[in-house]
């Protein structure tokens, strides 16, 4: 008889809540919130409370699968690995390393992402490695890096409640990041002003001092309009602009063209409301911007992010406790997957692959030559696969068939491959197309680290033994690398991998397992003495000066027309997560919500004669 609780980090969203997995007689029986955790302080959302449920699902992959004559056959590890290694090797040899591509996983640990990055670049010799961040916050990474020099949340989650004005836009926080929403509500109760700019009424909007609905895809226009008002009223922080920024003149010139009248015309937000937003935000002592996919998932995503950065720089609302620009990252470890360099142009810690010096550092440590040219992004990979230029893919814990745009295109692309190897814990829609499926393990069966949305590197701890013959993903990657002749993959533990990460990644340099034993450390943490960084850009920006970028408003790539008269935008539910690979295996979550649904303006619904609860068929130009 034994009963214990294992402290670990939640596997769902990027909040990074601490929870205990309850283990009774070596079986997972429940989840408890960690009462003393800095992020969630004893609370969890429904996904957190049921985080253990999917782990032992009957649908878990327990043995490797290989496709023979169009059907999956269970095989032993030797055969599966042999086929994967031989297949990848053959393509590399015959078609060159650039005909291979890899997708990494924002669900997996930092160590695993780092290893996959090392495997891609050091063993396969390709920079064609990317992951789903491309589709969510790549525009954040690009935009924030351009403006501030670092593409991550400027503040930390607990600080949110210290802001005196919070501007939430493009984030349905209570649904997507419940434990961050709780901080927003707390800030509100402490007297902060809450501004919500969202095309829909959301739970937070009922608590907002100002809630406005912009026309879909017009974010740059309203932000420019607000900045126009701020500048013409003289509410901008001249001292801050003078000392800490560059490019103000261009911005000012551009913003002058964006009169409130014009903004109202484009966005549908009244000038009165724009003025209220401008005044409330600009006059706040510590204003914080919180955004998510509603800002980034546009063809103008980077412009939107840059505009928010402009707004923060203009009013000096960045680089202070509780005040900054805060993208909420979706996956438990999407921050980490980016940090680990699972990006086609960057090594870990956002070190450019093109830089001889930085690349050279990795080459010395790994003892191999690394490719210099940036690789393909997720979208380009699918394009190249469809076009026959990519012949083999390795996908770690991702379900691009559902998460990438245009399912038909992705299916065609993946079906054209000579070899698709998928490492996952479930037979996802993507895995069904694979030639080899390797059974990995869930967060409950391995050690490692996740990096939460506020740059907090935290421990993941093994609670139970792997199910069936499944193996920890980091081991599988190492074994595959070794099977392909890769050297330097003999790690005894994820901790050893982490040591290598710290050696090669300056922003992680000071982080060690013992240091994050009790509480996470937030990067940048450059040495053992560095306590980590709660909020960034305090004295100077990562790039030196904060940079304004004049941005023009562009309409979305697709607009409603006669053939397709309605605009569709996506949203989140607190009860399901992403493509549902995990959450739809969880009875408690399925009971709440088991299928996607569509909300429609009652007027549109009335015109189309669609009653509540009716099934509808949605078609777009893409299908």
């Amino acid at each position: 008889m034994n009963y214990r609780t294992v402290l670990t980090t939640c596997v769902y969203c990027g909040c990074g809540c601490g929870l205990y997995l309850e283990v009774l007689d070596d079986e997972l029986v429940g989840t408890l919130p960690c009462k003393t955790h800095p992020i969630n302080e004893g609370g969890l959302c429904i996904k957190g409370w049921s985080a253990h449920e999917f782990v032992t699902s009957e649908k878990r992959l327990r043995r490797p699968l290989v496709k023979k004559d169009g059907h999956f056959v269970e095989v032993d590890w030797g055969e599966a690995m042999g086929r994967a290694a031989a297949g990848l090797g053959k393509i590399k040899e015959e078609r060159g390393p650039q005909s291979l591509a890899l997708l990494s996983s924002a669900k997996c640990t930092n160590e695993e992402n780092f290893l996959l990055m090392k495997f891609a670049r050091g063993v396969l010799g390709t920079n064609n490695i990317d992951h789903c961040a491309r589709l969510c916050h790549a525009s954040t990474v690009a935009g924030l890096a351009q403006a501030f020099g670092s593409g991550a949340m400027t503040n930390s989650t607990p600080e949110i409640e210290e802001a005196d004005c919070i501007l939430v836009t493009g984030s349905n926080t209570t649904e997507a990041h419940p434990l961050i929403a709780s901080r927003i509500l707390r800030a509100k109760e402490k007297g902060a002003k809450l501004i919500v700019v969202d095309p829909r009424g959301i739970q937070l909007s009922s608590y907002a001092d100002i809630h406005v609905r912009q026309r879909l895809g017009t974010d740059v226009a309203w932000i420019n309009g607000v900045m126009n008002i701020i500048i013409s009223e003289g509410w901008h922080d001249k001292d801050f602009i003078e000392r800490r920024t560059e490019g103000f003149e261009e911005l000012e010139k551009k913003v002058k063209e964006h009169t409130p009248e014009r903004a109202e015309q484009i966005t549908g937000i009244s000038q009165v409301d724009l003025r209220r937003i401008a005044e409330t935000y600009a006059k706040a002592e510590r204003a914080s911007i919180i955004y998510a996919m509603g800002i980034t998932q546009h063809t103008t995503g980077t412009d939107n992010v840059l505009s928010l950065c402009n707004l923060a720089l203009l009013t000096g609302n960045v680089g202070k406790r509780g005040s900054g620009v805060n993208p909420l990252r979706g996956q438990n470890n999407v921050q980490g997957a980016c940090d680990m360099g699972c990006l086609p142009n960057l090594l870990s810690g956002y070190q450019s692959i093109a830089s001889d010096e930085l690349r050279g550092k990795f080459e010395v440590e790994w003892g191999v030559k690394l490719p210099k040219e940036p690789g393909l992004t997720v979208v380009e990979m699918m394009e190249a696969a469809a076009g026959g230029r990519i012949k083999g893919m390795f996908i770690l814990g991702e379900n691009p068939l559902l998460s990438d745009p245009d399912i038909n295109h992705v299916r065609e692309a993946l079906q054209r491959l000579d070899l698709l190897v998928v490492l996952d814990i479930f037979l996802t829609e993507t895995a069904e197309l694979a030639d080899v499926v390797l059974p990995g393990v869930s967060f409950a069966e391995k050690d490692g680290t996740f990096t939460a949305t506020d740059r907090r590197v935290q421990r993941v701890r093994k609670a139970i033994e792997p199910l069936g013959e499944a193996r920890p993903d980091w081991q599988i990657i190492c074994e595959l690398a070794q099977a392909m002749g890769g050297e330097g993959f003999q790690y005894k533990s994820p901790e050893e991998v982490f040591g290598e990460i710290a050696r090669l990644t300056p922003i992680y340099a000071g982080i060690t397992y013992p240091r994050i034993e009790e509480r996470g450390v937030q990067w940048p943490c450059r040495s053992e003495e560095d306590p980590g960084t709660e909020f960034m850009h305090e004295k100077e920006f990562s790039r030196g000066l904060g940079k304004f970028t004049a941005v023009d408003f562009r309409e979305p790539a697709e607009l409603a027309d006669e053939d397709y008269p309605l605009m569709l935008t996506t949203g989140r539910s607190a009860f399901q997560f992403h493509t549902g690979s995990l959450s739809r295996k969880s009875p408690s979550l399925r009971r709440e919500l088991d299928e996607a649904y569509l909300e429609m303006n009652p007027l549109d619904a009335g015109e189309l004669g669609v009653p509540e609860g009716e099934a509808v068929k949605v078609s777009s130009r893409e299908g």
């Binding site: 408890l32 009462k35 003393t36 709780s182 509500l185 009860f575 009971r591």
Partner: protein, 264 residues
């Protein structure tokens, strides 16, 4: 702390219990753990961090109904055991409780009237906290003001079920909160006020006012004041206070022999 460790070591050594459910200090955080041998007892701690130990205990007792377990109890834990015993969820005869008196600071934080169990091995009995600050201020509101107050509070709910999941007295395998007719599934916030009132009514005559529900609420809904209020009502109407004595039954758990007013 040493007294507690010694006591537990003795119980285990004498085989008076097969395991002791307490808190273990690991990775810098106290968390529930079942101590089954003298080894490792140095990690057994008393802390101001509270977990629904008696709820977790039910997992053990239902899997091992014949075994005897020891459990660390504060005042609130002991009260919950008494109610659970009456509901046939645990058998007090199969349990050995080791009492801990809460620190004054914790008692204050919890607004606890009786921050110690009937017998305790650790700590000094702190002074009970009287008066229910927030409860009184809510009662003092005008009716419509109170309605708006609660609707605003309930509107914050993210339907995590943390209140239920942390409640030592919530043990049903089928929960009314999940009844899709009463509370349509998949909505945040859940239908208000019914979601919260269903739960409130289920605490009537049972809630032992431990406040773990409120501690688990990520959005800070003052849930406990509702249950506290109902506790007062039950006490006034029926003269019953949950968790006080092993004798007597909760007034809403049986039909009654006489109209209620003549009772108790």
């Amino acid at each position: 702390m040493e007294a507690l460790r010694a006591k537990v070591a003795q119980l285990l050594k004498e085989k008076a219990i097969s395991g002791f459910l307490g808190l273990k200090l690991e990775h810098g955080h106290p968390s529930p753990f079942l101590f089954t041998g003298e080894e490792g007892l140095d990690l057994l701690v008393v802390s101001d961090t509270r977990f629904p130990l008696t709820k977790l205990l039910q997992r053990l007792t239902s899997k091992y109904p014949e075994e005897k377990f020891g459990v660390m109890v504060r005042g609130c834990d002991e009260r919950s055991l008494i109610e659970l015993h009456k509901d046939n969820q645990v058998n007090l005869e199969h349990l050995v409780t080791v009492g801990v008196a809460c620190s004054q600071e914790l008692a204050q934080r919890c607004g606890c009237k009786v921050p110690y169990p009937s017998q305790f091995e650790v700590g000094e009995p702190a002074t009970g906290v009287e008066g229910g600050g927030e409860l009184e201020s809510i009662e003092g509101m005008a009716e419509d003001e109170r309605f708006n107050f609660w609707m605003e509070q309930f509107g914050k709910c993210i339907k995590c079920y943390g209140c239920r999941n942390s409640c030592p007295l919530c043990y049903c395998s089928e929960c009314t909160l999940e009844d899709s007719f009463l509370v349509p599934p998949g909505e945040t916030p859940p239908k208000a006020p019914i979601f919260h009132l269903i739960r409130a009514f289920h605490t009537v005559g049972r809630c032992i006012d431990c406040g773990l529900c409120e501690e688990a609420c990520p959005v800070g809904i003052p849930l406990r004041t509702i249950y506290k209020k109902l506790g007062q009502v039950v006490s006034e109407l029926f003269g019953y206070s949950p968790g006080k004595e092993v004798e007597g039954r909760s007034p809403l758990s049986f039909l009654g022999e006489k109209p209620f007013k003549e009772q108790g």
